[in-house]
Amino acid sequence: MSTPDRAASIPFFKITLLFRAFWIAVATFGLNALVSLGTPPAFVATAGILGMLITSRVAHTRLTSIGFFVALLGLVATNSALFWLIHEGARLSGATGFGVDEFQLHVGTCLISAIVWSITTWIFWRARLGIIVETVVTLLGGVLLFASHRDFHLDQPKIVSSLAWRLGMDHLAMLIVVGSSLLVLGIAYLYCASLATRPLAERERVQRSTSKRQWLLGTTLAATVIAILYIIQQMVYAHFNAIMLARVANGVGMNSESGVSPLSFQSALGSTNQPAALVRLEGDYANNPFSPMMYMRESALSSFNGKEMVFAGRAYDSDLPVTGSRDTFSRQEDAELGQRTPLVQSVYLLAEHDHAFAVDYPVSIVQLKNPRPNRFKATYRAYSVAPAYSVSQLSSTPVGDPRWTPDVREHYLALHPDRRYSDLAREVTKDASQPIEKMLALTNYLSRTAIYTLTPNHTVKPDEDPVAPFLFGDHRGYCVHFAHALVYMARSLGIPARIGTGYLTDLSQAKDGHILLRMSDRHAWAEVFIAGIGWVPFDVQPDQVESHAETQVDSKLLEELMGVLEPGEEILPTDTSKDEPGMQDPEPLWTPSRHHVVGTLLTLLTLCVIFKILLREGWRIAPSPQLKLRWGYISLASFLHDAGLSREYGETRSEFANRSPRGLLRDISELLVTSAYSKTSRPSSDRVLLAIMRARAHRTSIPLSKRVLALLNPGSLVKTITGGKW
C-alpha cells in the first residue's frame, strides 16, 4: 500500500488531522494574544499545521525516529545555510540594511512553530504513549490557562475575560461556555485520535449492531447526558458565582446588617484588577486634601463586638448614605461642618454593589439613565460635600462632635480589652499633646513599621483577636489590619474613631476626570471625627511592601468605557469622522459578531447542502460511464444510509444489495462488481443509466417518513468526510 493510502486507511485519520489543525490554530492565536509573536499568527499557525500534516504522512512511512530528527536538523541547517548565503551575498553587494535579518526572524518563528508541531505529531503517531503525553500536556495547558481561577480571580485569563467583556457576558458564564466547549472538543479529539492511533478499536466498535432500538437508546442517552451536563453547569455556576461574589466583592457593600463585618483578616480586599466601577467627576476637585488620592466612602464600621469592628446599624454613623445603588436619596447638608466643597460624581457600576458610595458624605444621590444596561449594573449621580481642608492645619482642633449624646460618644470610644493597645498607643504618642498630633504619630508609626502584604497568613482561632498577631507580632498585614490597629489605639487615647470602607483611588490614573475603580482599589481606613470638620481619614502608607495588588489601570479599557459615555449619535454623529485614519478602535481581541456567527452557520449549511446534492446527484455530471456507475452507487447507498439502512462491517456489496428494499441496489451492485473485476467487460453508458434509474425508481418502496429523514440526515456527509467506505 502506498504511503498516502496507508495513512488514509486509518479510521478517523482525516478528522484527527482536522482537530489537530484546529488546536494548533487555537494555541497559536492564544499564544499571540498573551505574548506578541511579532510575526502574523496566521503564518505561524499555517507553518505549524503544515508541519503537522507533513509529519502525519511521514510518520506512516518507514522513516525511523532518528531519521526524522536528522531531517529536522537538516531543515534547520538548510535554513541557516541559506540565510548565511543570502547575508554574504548582501554584504558583497554592499548592502548595509537588516532587511534579510528581519525576514529571517519571521521565517525563524514559522520554522519554530513547524518544528514544535512536527515533533509533537511524530510522538503522537509513533510513540505508544504519545496520546497520553498529549492528553497530559493538553490538561496541563488548560490548568495553566485557568490556574488563576483557583482563587476565583476571574479576571486573570485575559482571553476569556476579554471575550466576556466584549460580548457583555458574565465572566463565570463565559468561563463555563469556553471551558465546556473546549472540553467537548477535547474529548471528541481524543476519541478520534485514540481510534486513529488504535485502528483495531474502531473495528470493534463498527462491528456492533446498530439496530433501530439501539439508535433510539443512544439518542435518548445522549440527550439525557446533555441535560444532566446542563443542570450540572447551572449548579456549578450558581455555586461558584456565590463564592466569586463573596471573594471578589470582599467588602463591597455586602452583609451590612448591624453586628457583622464585611472585612476579612485572612485575604486582602479585592486584589485583582477586575473593574468595579467607572466614576466620572463632573467638576474639578482642586482642593482635595489627599491629592492625588481620593477616598470614596461606602460604609463604616464603628461598633466593637469584642473581637473586631462591625457595622453599628442606623443609630450611629448618620453621615453614611442610607441607600442602595439603585435608590434615590437626599438630605440636608450638615451646616456645622466646614471647609468643604461641592463635588458631583457620576458613578457607573461594573460590578454589583448593594450600597452606593461617594466622596466623603453625599447629600443627594439620584439615579442616572443607564447608557449601556448590558455593561453597567447600575448608574447614579452623587452630590457630595467633599473635604477641602488640610490635615496639617487641623493639629490643634478638638476631636469629637459636641452635638453627640454621651451614648454616641461612648460608642465611638468603645475600647479593646487588650491593654497592649493602650500601652503601645501611649508609648508611640508620648511626645504629642493634641489628639490630631497623636493620630499622626500613630499613623506614622504604623507606616514606618508595618509591612504591607496580601497574605499575612496569621494563625488565629475564631475567638481570638485577629489584629494582635499583626500589631504585636510580625507587623505583616494589609489595610484591614492597619485600620483596626489605628482605631483601637486611637480609642484608647480617647479619640473617637471608626473604620471607613470603600475605595481609595489614585487620581493620577484618571483620564478626563474618569476613574476606573478596580477591586484592588477596595480599601479600609481609620477615621477620626474632628469638630467642625467631620470624619477625617487617617491612613497608613507602609514604607515596606512585601506584595501588593495590581496597580496599573487598564487605560484602553478606561478609554473604551469613556466612549460609552460620549454623547449619542443624535448629538455627535460619528459618520463625519469615520473615514479619518486613526479613528478605528483598536480591537483588543477579535470576537465574532452575531452576523459572523449566523453567516458562518449559513455558509456551513449551504456547503453541506451543496455537498449533499453532489453526493446524491453528482452521478449525472460524471464524465465517464465508470464514474457514473460508481457515483450512482454512492448516491443510492448514501440515500439508504441516511434512511437508516447501512452496510455492516464485513458485509459484501452483493449481500448488502440483497438486503436493500426490493433489492434496489442489486443491478447496480452487480454492474459495479463486474466493472471492477472484469478486464474486458465495461458496462455501456446506457446500461449504467438504466440501472441507476431503475434503482432510483424503487426508492418509493421506502416509507415517505424515512425518505424525508434521508433528506435531512447529515449521516452520509459525515461518513464521506471521515473516509467511510460505501
Binding site: 547575508h87 548592502a95 537588516f98 535579518d101 482642586a286 469613556m562 485614519p581 479613528m583
Partner: protein, 655 residues
C-alpha cells in the same frame, strides 16, 4: 510648548469667537429683558467682570442658554478648571446640539487637556460640518468667519497630526493657505508636520521663513533647532536653541524655556558634551514648566545612569514625580512607563533585579502617551524589552550563585532559570525584530539617537543575535559616517561583542581593551563597566588581571559583578565545609600566586549557638567590610552575597 501654544491660541481665538457669539445673543434677545450689560455674559475688556461663576451657578445651569454656558466654560478653562468647563460644554451641547462653537471648544479640550484625539476628531469634524451648514461652504468674506474657520482647520490639522495622519494634517494646512488664511502658528505647525513626513529640508525652509516673518518666534525657533539637529547641524541647532531659550524667558510666566533647554541638552548629549547636557537638563528640570513633561527629567536620569550615578538618577526621578503629583488631574500615562523604565535600569545596575524585572514588565504593559514628541511606543517597547531580557539574564546569574538549602529549592531554582532563559531569548529576538522592522532598519544604531530609549552601553548584547555579515557592514558604514570620536568606541564595543561569540576572539579582546582604556572617566562609566565585565568573562579566575579588574568593578559597581555571573576572588579563612560553601556562591578562592590585594572572608562558627558568622574585610577599602550571621551555612553565604552585591538606595524606591 506645543501644548501651551495650542492652548493660548485656543483661548484667544475662542475669546473672540465668544464675544461675537454673545453679541449675537444680545442682539437677538428682547430689549425689555434688562440692560445689555446684564444680559451679556461678560465683558472681556472689563477686568472686574469675570462672569457669573460662583459655586451656586451650577444649579442655575438649567436656566442658562447654550451661549451662556459656553461663556462659563471658556472662563473655567482659563481658570485651569477643565472638568468644570467640560461639564458646562456638555450641558451646552445638550441644549443646542447644532452649535458648532461647543463642538469646537470640546475638540480643543480633548486635544489639549486630555489627549483623547479620537474624540477630539469627532468633535472637530462635527464642528466643521455644522459651521459649513450654518455659513455655507468656504471661502468666506467676513473676517470673523474666516478666523473661526481657520481655527477649526488648525485644530483639525493638529488632531490629525496627533493621530499620526501626517499627510492629512499637511493637506489641511494646504487648504488653510489656499483660502488665504494666515496665522502666527502656521510656520511652526507646518514645519513640524513636514519633519514628521521626513521632509527635513522643506521644514527648515518653512521654519526659517516663519522666523523672518516673526511668527511665534519661541516655538518656531525651537522647531528650527530640532530640525537643524536632525539635519546633522548641531552647532547651528544650539545657536538657534539659545535664541529660543532667551525668547521663552522673555515671555515671562507664559514662556516655556524648559522645552528648548531640554532640546539643547539632547543636542549636547548627542555631541558627547555631557557636562553641558547635564547643565541644560538641570536647568530645564528646575524651571516651573520643567515638570510639565517627563523628558528633561528622563534625559537627565538616563545620562546619570550612563555615568553610573544611580543615586542622582533616582533623585531626579523622585523630584519629577513629586512635582507632577501637584497636578492631580494629570494622567500618569504621560510618564509612568518611562519612569518605570529608568527606575528599572537603576535597580538593575544596583542588583535589585527582581524589582527591575517588575518595573520593566510594568513599563512594557503601560501605555505611554507620547503626544507629539519624536519618541514613539516602539522606542519604549524595544527599550523595555531589551532591558527586561538583560534583567532576566542577570537574574539567572544571581540564581546560579544562590545556594539552595534543599532539593526542592534547587529544582525550583532550575525551573526558574530555564523559564528565564527561554523568556530572555524570546525577548531579545523580539527586540531585534522591532529594531530591524518597526524601527526602520535599526535607525537607532546611531549612538545617542535623541528619540531612542535604548541603553547604548549594553546594546551589543542584543546586536549579537544579528547576522555578523550584516552587522559588520552596518557598523563599518556607521563608523565612516559618524564623525563623533566618542561614538566610535560604542561601535567597537558592538563589534567586540559580536566577535566574542565567534572564532575571532583575539580581535574582540583587543577591542574590549581599547574600550576599557579609552572610555571617558566619569562620563562613560557604564560602557567601561560593561566592557570590563565582558573582558573578565574571558579571563582565568585565578589570574592577576582577573583579580585587578574584578576589584575595580567591585569597588565601583559591586552589583554588576554578580549580575554578570563573575565570582569575586577572596581569601577564605574557615573550615573546609565553609570554604566549599563560600566558593559555591559568588566568590572564588584568590590564588596567592596571582599576587595583589584581595579581601578576606572569615568564617566563624559558634559551637554553643550553632550560628555561623561571616566576616568580610577589605584591607584597602574598609567601607566594604560586612558581617553576617545565620545558623544555616548556605543562608549565611547568601546573606553575605546580598550584603555585598545589592545596593539599596534610600528614598529612591517609590513608584
Amino acid at each position: 510648548m506645543v501644548r501651551r501654544s495650542v492652548r493660548n491660541i485656543v483661548y484667544w481665538c475662542v475669546a473672540l469667537t465668544i464675544v461675537t457669539a454673545c453679541h449675537t445673543a444680545v442682539a437677538q434677545s428682547s430689549p425689555d429683558k434688562g440692560s445689555p450689560k446684564k444680559d451679556l455674559l461678560f465683558d472681556p475688556f472689563d477686568p472686574f467682570d469675570i462672569g457669573d461663576l460662583d459655586e451656586s451657578s451650577a444649579a442655575n445651569d438649567a436656566n442658562k442658554s447654550a451661549e451662556e454656558l459656553l461663556g462659563d466654560a471658556f472662563f473655567l478653562l482659563r481658570s485651569e478648571r477643565p472638568l468644570d468647563a467640560r461639564t458646562k460644554l456638555l450641558k451646552a451641547l445638550q441644549k443646542d446640539p447644532l452649535m458648532y462653537r461647543t463642538h469646537y471648544l470640546l475638540a480643543g479640550y480633548y486635544l489639549v487637556h486630555v489627549g483623547h484625539f479620537r474624540l477630539a476628531m469627532k468633535y472637530i469634524t462635527r464642528a466643521e460640518e455644522l459651521f459649513e451648514k450654518k455659513h455655507g461652504a468656504p471661502p468666506y468674506r467676513d473676517r470673523l468667519l474666516q478666523l473661526e474657520h481657520g481655527d477649526i482647520l488648525y485644530y483639525l490639522s493638529q488632531i490629525r497630526l496627533s493621530l499620526d495622519n501626517y499627510q492629512g494634517a499637511l493637506d489641511v494646512l494646504d487648504r488653510y493657505t489656499s483660502l488665504g488664511y494666515s496665522a502666527d502658528w502656521y510656520p511652526g505647525a507646518r514645519a513640524w508636520i513636514l519633519m514628521k513626513l521626513g521632509r527635513i529640508q522643506d521644514a527648515i525652509k518653512v521654519a526659517r521663513a516663519g522666523i523672518l516673518a516673526g511668527a511665534e518666534p519661541g516655538r518656531t525657533l525651537n522647531m528650527l533647532g530640532i530640525l537643524l539637529s536632525m539635519n546633522g547641524q548641531p552647532q547651528e541647532a544650539l545657536e538657534v536653541f539659545r535664541k529660543a531659550i532667551a525668547n521663552e524667558f522673555s515671555s515671562g510666566s507664559e514662556g516655556q524655556p524648559a522645552t528648548p533647554l531640554n532640546n539643547s541638552g539632547e543636542v549636547y548629549k548627542e555631541m558627547f558634551d555631557d557636562d553641558k547636557a547635564e547643565s541644560s537638563f538641570l536647568r530645564a528640570t528646575s524651571l516651573p514648566d520643567g515638570c510639565e513633561h517627563v523628558l528633561p527629567s528622563l534625559n537627565l536620569a538616563l545620562l546619570y545612569i550612563e555615568q553610573q550615578k544611580n543615586e542622582a538618577a533616582l533623585s531626579v526621578l523622585d523630584a519629577f514625580q513629586h512635582c507632577v503629583a501637584q497636578f492631580p488631574l494629570r494622567n500618569n500615562e504621560e510618564h509612568a512607563a518611562l519612569v518605570h523604565l529608568a527606575r528599572g535600569r537603576v535597580d538593575l545596575h544596583t542588583g535589585n533585579v527582581d524589582r527591575a524585572i517588575r518595573r520593566f514588565r510594568t513599563a512594557m504593559e503601560g501605555t505611554q502617551w507620547f503626544g507629539k514628541i519624536g519618541t514613539n511606543q516602539n522606542d519604549l517597547v524595544v527599550g523595555a524589552t531589551i532591558s527586561l531580557a538583560q534583567a532576566l539574564r542577570r537574574k539567572n546569574n544571581i540564581l546560579r550563585a544562590h545556594l539552595t538549602g534543599s532539593w526542592s529549592d534547587w529544582v525550583a531554582q532550575q525551573r526558574e532559570i530555564a523559564s528565564n532563559t527561554i523568556e530572555a531569548w524570546w525577548l531579545m529576538r523580539r527586540a531585534r525584530q522591532i529594531l530591524t522592522g518597526e524601527l526602520n532598519d535599526l535607525e537607532d544604531l546611531s549612538i545617542r539617537n535623541t528619540d531612542s530609549l535604548i541603553e547604548y552601553a549594553t546594546l551589543g548584547e542584543t546586536l549579537q543575535g544579528l547576522s555578523r555579515a550584516a552587522l559588520d557592514a552596518r557598523l563599518e558604514d556607521e563608523k565612516k559616517r559618524d564623525t563623533r570620536a566618542q561614538a566610535q568606541l560604542f561601535y567597537d564595543m558592538y563589534r567586540a561583542e559580536s566577535l566574542l561569540g565567534g572564532w575571532n576572539s583575539r580581535e574582540a579582546l583587543a577591542l574590549l581593551d581599547k574600550v576599557i582604556e579609552r572610555a571617558r572617566p566619569r562620563y562613560d562609566d557604564l560602557l567601561r563597566a560593561h566592557a570590563t565585565l565582558l573582558r573578565l568573562q574571558t579571563l582565568e579566575e585565578s589570574s592577576a588581571r582577573y583579580r585587578d579588574l574584578a576589584y575595580t568593578i567591585f569597588y565601583t559597581n559591586p552589583a554588576e559583578l554578580r549580575n554578570y555571573g563573575l565570582p569575586l576572588p577572596v581569601k577564605i579563612v574557615g573550615s573546609s565545609v565553609m570554604r566549599s560553601m563560600i566558593t559555591s556562591g559568588p566568590f572564588v578562592h584568590a590564588s596567592s600566586a596571582a599576587g595583589g590585594v584581595a579581601c578576606t572572608i572569615t568564617a566563624l562558627q559558634d559551637p554553643t549557638s550553632s550560628s555561623i558568622t561571616l566576616r568580610f574585610t577589605c584591607p584597602d577599602n574598609t567601607s566594604k567590610n560586612k558581617v553576617v550571621e545565620d545558623s544555616d551555612p548556605s543562608e549565611v553565604v547568601n546573606k553575605l552575597s546580598e550584603a555585598l552585591f545589592r545596593e539599596e538606595i534610600k528614598n529612591g524606591g517609590n513608584i
